[in-house]
Every structure is written in C-alpha cells, then in structure tokens.
C-alpha cells in the first residue's frame, strides 16, 4: 500500500500530494509532449524495441554465407547466431568460476572500503575538524587515475588475490568516505537543534539522529559506488590474473574469440543490473520511511 493511499482516509490530506498517475483514458491517447513520460508499458516496449532494432541491424550487417559476402568481417563482428552458438564453449572455459572469482574480489574489496570508509565518514561528518583534516587526502584519493594505482599495489601486495582486493579497497575508499561525509553534512541542522533542545547529548545526536537520517543517502551512494568497483575490478583482472571475467576477456582477445568477448560484456551488464536491483530492493525494506531514488 502506498503512503498516499493510507493518507487519504485522514481529514487533513496534504494538498500538494501528487495525484496518482492514472493511465490515459481510452478516449485520450498519449501524445508526444515536452518532458511528458510515456505510460510505463509503452516505455518498456520502446526499450525492448530499441534493443530489437540494434540486434536486427547487427544481423543484417553480418548476414552472408561466406565471410566475403558480409558487410562486416566475422573477425570484427560475428553474427548473433554465431555468438549464441559460442555459449557452450565459453562455459567450458570455467565461466562460472570466473564470475565467482570476480564477485568475490569486488565484495571483499568494496566491503572492506565500506567497513572502514563509512565509520570514518560519519566521524568526519559529525565533527568537522576531522573533515577539515582529511579533505586534502580525500581529494587526492578521488582524483588519482585508478589505473595508476596498479603498479604500486603490485609492488605492495604481489600479484595474487590480495592485490586485487586491496586495489579495489584503495580505489573505492576515498569515494565511500567522501559520500558518507556529504550524507552526514546534508542532514538539515534543524534536526540536530530539535534533538538538542530535547536534551540529546552530542553522542545521542550522532547515533539517534545524524546517522539514521544519513543512512538512506549513504546506502544510495554505496549502490552507485558498487557499480564503480565492479568496473575497477575488470581493470585489475586485465593486467594480471589467473581467473575472473577480466582475465577471460583478455585471453579471449589474445585468442581472437570475439564471440566470447561479446557474451562476457552482455553478462557483465546483466550481473551489474541484477546486483543493483537486489540492493535497491534491500534498500526499500531497510528504509521504509523514505522512498528510494532509482
């Protein structure tokens, strides 16, 4: 049940509350209007249609019995059917183990960044002297090109799993920290003042007001940053790895298996989408008091 539905029963219905968006009545058809979103079903259908158009174009460009009759050489772009037929051979290359290896590295590295970065960010957001002290380092950390960290992490942590995990940790922690600071400082001062005039101590203000009110924003930014971490791990795996999706990508390239490259790219997109939706679902249950942004 939506909050609006529950409110309607009460005498003092907020006037500004938006009326539920009804589907256009049969008499009034949806028209192309400035900034007007299409009805949800039409919107989804348009998305599917656009993908179908791209696949169709792909099929047309790669049509032909022999490589010579194709518009694009199969070495550069195989046909959709050839890509689908390559699925079994990709599975034989330990695809599942690769997926798990990649996810494990991201979860470990990013989890570590959250465990360290969020508490530090809360500290700096609540007591701004820590924020002032950490600002130069955080700016440096956020602006260093990520790939530039690889040589150093290899020297420090070797070329094994530790290096992959620590690379993700070091690359993500400045962002996790800064976003937590921003979320904390974004909580309106009025809440703090209200709590103080109700007798809350500094510690109580942080625990009972600042952190819970900042949590939805923190979680939201962590969801976005997880996507970033997922991107970084490919980088680490391209350079030096024994397994993982990035490793599969780079070996496919060396062996000229373009079908596999296309399949892995689609798989990465699908994985990122599933994880994001999962986190969003979790987030909605976690913060019932606030509608989460998409």
């Amino acid at each position: 049940m939506s909050p609006d539905a529950r409110m309607e029963s009460h005498e003092e219905v907020e006037r500004e509350s938006p009326a539920p968006k009804a589907l256009p009545s049969p008499g009034r058809r949806w028209r192309l209007e400035l900034r007007e979103p299409p009805p949800p079903l039409v919107g989804r259908a348009l998305g599917v249609l656009a993908v179908a158009v791209v696949v169709l174009a792909w099929g047309l460009l790669t049509m032909g019995a022999t490589p010579e009759t194709r518009l694009i050489s199969p070495v550069l772009l195989p046909s959709p059917m050839e890509v689908i037929r390559a699925v079994p051979s990709l599975l034989e290359r330990d695809l599942l183990a690769g997926v798990f290896a990649t996810l494990e590295r991201v979860f470990l590295g990013f989890g570590l960044a959250v465990l360290v970065g969020v508490p530090l960010g809360i500290l700096a957001g609540a007591w701004r002297v820590f924020d002032a002290a950490s600002a130069p380092m955080a700016i440096f950390g956020r602006n260093i090109p990520i790939a530039a960290l690889i040589p150093m992490t290899i020297l420090w942590f070797g070329i094994d799993e530790t290096q992959k995990v620590m690379f993700i940790f070091i690359a993500c922690i400045p962002f996790v920290f800064s976003d937590a600071v921003v979320a904390l400082t974004g909580v309106h001062q009025r809440y703090v003042e209200t709590a103080q005039t109700l007798g809350a101590s500094d510690g109580q203000v942080v625990r009972k007001v600042l952190v819970p009110l900042a949590m939805p924003d923190i979680f939201n930014s962590l969801r976005n940053l997880f996507g970033l971490a997922f991107g970084y791990i490919m980088l680490a795996e391209l350079i030096n790895a024994r397994h993982g999706l990035g490793y599969l990508l780079s070996t496919s390239q060396r062996r000229g298996l373009i079908e596999h490259i296309i399949l892995i790219l689609v798989l990465i997109g699908a994985l990122a989408f599933v994880i994001d939706r999962g986190l969003l679902w979790f987030q909605r249950g976690l913060f019932p008091f606030r509608a989460s942004e998409e």
């Binding site: 909050p3 529950r6 409110m7 009460h10 003092e12 219905v13 907020e14 006037r15 309106h188 009025r190 809440y191 003042e193 209200t194 709590a195 103080q196 005039t197 109700l198 007798g199 809350a200 101590s201 109580q204 009972k208 007001v209 819970p212 009110l213 949590m215 913060f287 019932p288 008091f289 606030r290 509608a291």
Partner: protein
C-alpha cells in the same frame, strides 16, 4: 537579581553581531517574571529580519546566535551555556525525525534521558492523544504519512512531554493553512493551561500574537530592538470567535499600523 525568584528569562542589553559587522539585535532588554502557579505567554512580533528568531535561539542556546556578542542572557538566574531539555523548541519546518514513527518521535526526549521503552511509549501514547492524534491509527505512522498540521502536533507533543520550564516556538504554524492554524492555536491554548510553562512564541501573524499572547513584544526594524511591550487579554474563547470581536480587532489594527510604519522605514533605509 532578587535571590528567591529570579526572572524566568532576563535579557540585559543583549547585542548580537555576525561576521564582525552584521548587527542582528541591538541592546535588547526585557525580563519575564516567574509568576507562581502559571507561566506567561509571550508573543514576539516584528518586521522580517528584525531578529525575532535570534532572541528565541539565544534563549535556547543554539549557535550561531548563541553566545551573545555583548550583554547577558539568563534563564532562572543562570547564564545560558547551551541547549537543554528545560527549554524545548518547536520549529516551523523539518520538525519530525523522518526515520522514527510518531510514538518514537514523541518519546525521543525520554529515550535520551534513559527511560525504559515500555514506560516511555506509554507516556508517548498519552501525549499523542492529548494533541488530538489517534493513538490506534497514528502512533505507528512515519512522518511522511502525515499532513503538515499533524506533524506540528507531533512536534508539540514531543516537546511538552518533557514538561519544560520554557517553551520556545519559532513560527510553528507559519506553514499551515488558516483553518488548520486556528485549530492548532486552540490546541496550544488548551495544553498550555495545564503546563505552567512560560511560552515564547515568534510569529508573523498579528492575529496569532494578539490571540495567544498575554504579553506582546514588538520588535523594531533591523537591527532589532524591543520597541513596544503591551499586555492583551488571555485567549478565553475559541480562536474563530475571539478573533472577530471588535475589541480584538482594534488591537490588531493598532499593531498593524505600527508594523507597517516600521516596514516602510526599513525600506527607506535600504
């Protein structure tokens, strides 16, 4: 200072300057006596930017208005050093803790004092009823499910449950529509009678000040100082009746002329 009964709130030539140059209030002095058995309802009126809120926040001990640049702010004879539960404050906006249900909002101050969950929730439900919300259907709601008027009821319950000696209200009904506003005024009058607290109520609305106040402070155009002080009859009838009586309206019109004069002189100075 008279040892036994120091004034509830005493301002002595209080001046506040921000950033070295901006003068918010200038030599504000007043004293609200501690009358045995009942508190006073002090309404503060004035043109925008005259420092009404500054006065309130100095009593509350909230930065950056606190501490005063010069002069002294005393509550019950003691200088104000910071915010505390003895001076509850109700604001106009961002009033509810969005992550807490109505009952947990109302019980917030008791929770900070370390009162047990069962005990404080029982008290909270009692207050939810007192401010005209439904214990059964509203206690478990989150603030985003409430209207503006209902959220202000929660804020009032959350402050009064702590039985503060002083209640500070900074335009609490400023964002409500006129009829909800009158309901809230009547609610406040009803609750305040039982409390014996001194209320400081900042408002833009002359009717609200004249209706609610025992005493009205009119502040001058910036830099703010108290220009006039007048006593008005207490609200002994419902707002919609009392606010259309000729004697009530004549006070309102008198104050309106005064304030319009002040606004005009501010314009000229700019």
């Amino acid at each position: 200072m008279n040892g036994a009964h120091p004034p509830v709130v005493e301002f002595e030539k209080v001046t506040k300057i921000y950033g070295g140059s901006h003068l918010a209030i200038k030599e504000v002095s007043f004293s609200v006596e501690d009358k045995a058995g009942h508190g006073e309802f002090v309404a503060i009126l004035g043109p925008s930017g005259c420092g009404k809120s500054t006065v309130l926040r100095l009593i509350a001990g909230l930065r950056p208005q606190h501490p005063a640049t010069t002069g002294s702010v005393r509550v019950l004879g003691q200088p104000v050093v910071g915010p505390g539960a003895d001076r509850g404050m109700v604001f106009q906006d961002y009033t509810s803790f969005d992550h807490r249900t109505v009952e947990d909002n109302v019980a917030f101050g008791l929770e900070c004092r370390g009162m047990g969950r069962k005990e404080r929730l029982a008290l909270a439900r009692e207050w939810i009823g007192k401010v005209g919300l439904s214990v059964d259907s509203d206690a478990g709601k989150f603030p985003h499910q409430l209207s503006g008027g209902m959220r202000q009821r929660v804020a009032i319950a959350r402050t009064l449950i702590l039985n503060p000696r002083i209640i500070l209200m900074d335009e609490p009904f400023g964002a409500l529509d006129p009829s909800t506003r009158m309901h809230m005024q009547d609610l406040l009058v009803g609750l305040w009678r039982d409390l014996q607290a001194t209320v400081f109520f900042v408002t833009h609305s002359i009717e609200e000040a004249v209706y609610l106040g025992d005493r009205i402070y009119v502040m001058s155009s910036p830099p703010g100082t108290i220009l006039r002080e007048l006593s008005v009859p207490p609200p002994d009838r419902p707002a919609h009746l009392m606010q259309r009586e000729p004697s009530f309206l004549s006070v309102v019109f008198e104050l309106r002329d005064l304030l319009e004069g002040l606004e005009a002189s501010t314009e000229r100075e700019r």
